[in-house]
Symmetry: C2
Subunit: 466 residues, 2 copies
């Protein structure tokens, strides 16, 4: 593993470049004074991470694009992926305090309730449980969602609900429905990197606008709109990822006015509005959308069971057919079995029960996190207390780089996501994203002091260097 890590480092630093051949196994084994098998294993580890590829009868080569590996790691907030990439060592994986992952702990997943509804569906529908669903989604589920959305002050009908295989697919489908090559999309900076990846893949022009603690500047937004004539703006209005910031009611209203005035759509990713504590301003933008400008995107699986891959969108009338076509061209339809099981899960009240349960757990972690940060955060670093959710955004003192901090951190103990991951062109070097999704209370108690101490040392050293 040491050898693999060493080579990984060289690949990252581009000492080994794209498509360059790594040393032959025997040669490297001789050079390092180890067994051939050790090198074979090290190369296998690199291959598993897609850092290298083999050519039969020739050797091991560096995969092109590998310099973007770190970006991919946390881009999609995938614990397993992150952990696998950081190390395949089981012991290490378990000791790590992971503030990077946005994936909840598996121990809280409602396994037995979900098992029951799965079996209920199989017993009820037999083979039909494995049939294609309508591309729009299983109709009873779409109806259940409409009923459920009343709690969000959203009025809609089943024909405007599009079932998707998770929020990431929603981003992809909306891109296909609205955005053509060279169209413009406006995103907050920083924002969810999976959104940037999808828009990039679509070949559209991405314009960033800085995210402020109460939402983006409306004056700045209007000037960007006039200049670039966007077709779409992507936003997370509450407890944004990665900043945890939320739009004020006033800015939400202003945003709706602009969308209507300048004729663009808003894609609202309602990321964690269930975890807003004690705020009257907690309803989605979609609840104040008489002009049908908002595409509302919600994952059912993100907080509870990310492996389910299930979510939905509320689609404006005029986009209904385009979105349906895009869904078909993307994966025809979402798993009928999962849709049917989730419909029962919703109808039988398990979902609300599970939400209440998770909200309590997250609230305790949220309060503890604030307590620990207020106590340990070193002078010069600061953050803004979010209204809820799972993200905390720390800023280092001006002039310091969180990427440098990340590189120097002992990442066998704690890990976070450096803020530059969440930008496209704009850069804020100072941001650090801490997620409380994957850590336990005990880990917060241990991890925050470790991280803050390292931060303090880093700030001190950097100041001395000047």
């Amino acid at each position: 593993m040491q050898i693999a890590n060493g080579i990984e480092d060289l690949i990252r630093k581009q000492v080994y470049e794209a498509d360059e051949k790594l040393p032959p196994i025997r040669k490297l084994a001789d050079f390092l004074g180890v067994n051939n098998v050790t090198i074979v294993k090290a190369y296998d580890l690199l291959g598993e991470k897609s850092l290298t590829y083999k050519v039969r009868g020739s050797g091991t080569y560096v995969t092109p694009k590998s310099e973007s590996l770190i970006a991919e790691i946390s881009e999609f907030d995938n614990t397993d992926h992150l952990r696998n990439t950081l190390s395949s060592n089981q012991e290490y994986r378990q000791s790590l305090i992971n503030f990077a992952s946005a994936t909840p702990r598996a121990e809280f997943f409602p396994i037995s309730d979900f098992k029951t509804v799965l079996n209920d569906v199989l017993d009820r529908d037999l083979g039909e449980a494995f049939s294609y669903q309508e591309a729009k989604g299983y109709k009873p589920l779409r109806e259940s969602i409409c009923a459920y959305l009343k709690g969000y002050k959203i009025q809609t009908e089943a024909e405007h609900v599009q079932i998707i295989s998770g929020a990431q697919q929603g981003l992809d489908i909306v891109s296909k429905s609205i955005l053509d090559h060279n169209d413009v999309v406006i995103v907050e900076a920083p924002t969810y990197s999976g959104a940037i990846a999808t828009f990039r893949s679509r070949g559209v022009k991405i314009i960033e606008i800085p995210m402020l603690v109460d939402g983006v500047s409306m004056a700045k937004l209007e000037s960007l709109i006039k200049r670039y004539k966007p077709k779409l703006m992507f936003t997370m209005t509450h407890c944004q990822n990665p900043t945890g910031y939320s739009y004020s009611m006033k800015k939400k209203q202003a945003l709706m006015t602009l969308a209507d005035q300048y004729d663009f759509y808003i894609l609202e990713d309602d990321y964690v509005s269930e975890l807003i504590y004690d705020s009257p301003n907690k309803y989605p933008l979609k609840s104040m959308d008489p002009k049908d400008r908002v595409i509302y995107l919600k994952s059912f699986s993100k907080i509870l069971m990310p492996g389910l891959r299930l979510g939905f969108m509320i689609v404006p009338n005029r986009l209904n057919q385009a979105v349906l076509n895009a869904k078909e061209a993307t994966d025809i339809s979402t798993s009928g079995l999962i849709q049917k099981a989730f419909d029962l899960y919703l109808k039988q009240g398990h979902w609300s029960k599970q939400l209440r349960y998770m909200k309590k757990i997250y609230y305790k972690k949220y309060l503890l996190m604030i307590e620990m940060l207020n106590k340990h955060l070193p002078r010069g670093a600061n953050y803004y207390i979010p209204k809820g959710g799972i993200m905390f955004w720390i800023e280092l003192p001006k002039g310091l780089s969180s990427r440098t901090f990340y590189d120097k951190l002992d990442r066998t103990k704690v890990v976070f996501v450096p803020g530059d991951m969440f930008y496209y062109n704009l850069k804020n070097e100072r941001g650090i994203r801490l997620s409380i999704a994957s850590v336990s209370e005990e880990e917060i108690r241990q991890g925050v002091p470790i991280l803050c101490q390292a931060m303090k040392n880093f700030i001190k050293k950097e100041k001395e260097l000047r």
Copy 2:
């Protein structure tokens, strides 16, 4: 329903155009002498089909693009969708003999075996069953697939297997990995319309080459390659959809040579090679690919349990990272629960058992279909006996249009897919696709004579008209 059908007709014929307002409910009710509620219901039916949309306080409008509705119906070979669109009437649905659908009959799905493995996974993995998987896919499943592929004479390793949520997603991901705006892709004509939809959505240039009974002309292909410099060719080498035609061994070899010589990739959709009866030439192109030019695409769910949404690709070394990135930007990863359950399903031998069982059923239908067609097909129409699979491609006499035949057919009795669905620009007006996936033996016995009689009448009338 009569009223809804009538309006649907007018929309199709563009008497009502995109975004045109339909008559007010009361006015139309008066005019037709029916109750207001009847019109409301008719408009609801149209809305359900996305043919119309409502504007609150204003009325009901025609959805743009609705003229492409028929195309969408069978584009993705989705029984439920087709049936829902043709009619929501339960009785009608059950009496219809459906040669259009490529979806197998739910009664054959291996419900109890799959239920067992699902529960085994839930009991074994608890909450982890709902965790994210690696974007590449659950590793034990990727390993099981490698072992399974030996029966296809394909040698590969787990790191080259990419799990996908069904074959349609594979098309989408490959497009994102290889094709940029204005790149060229070559497709057979006719071909699977879901592929055309995906390539179109990617904004690439689609070049068609006529599919012949032993595969496309290699001379023609080479001249197209020289002229257009494609990055990709999409092919189904065995029992192609919709024609049922298969490439000869000689043409398969020539295809591999061209790919290497002119530096493009081949996307091979191995659609139904399991259902090839008694031919030595049944192995995929991927089994003869030393230069790593073929992206091999396979759905696990298509023939057995389409609602599962599960498949895989074997990805050339150099595309590994790009494909992984595209998968992440598309839906992060495929449902872990389904992957884990399917891994057990494969490992415990259920899959092979189920394949053998289905192969027997399909073989009987295949033989019966040949017998019935040989007996009833009217003079002038002809077809080529496929090596296996589920598709039969009938050609009407020269000069006749299968679309006209389709429009005049009594579609309450039998239904098929008119061939023009499967083209992009090239047109073959004569083709008729008959699928045996969804029909029973009894339905073949009844349906072929009905269809052939209608065809005979159609041919006769058309001749008289000249």
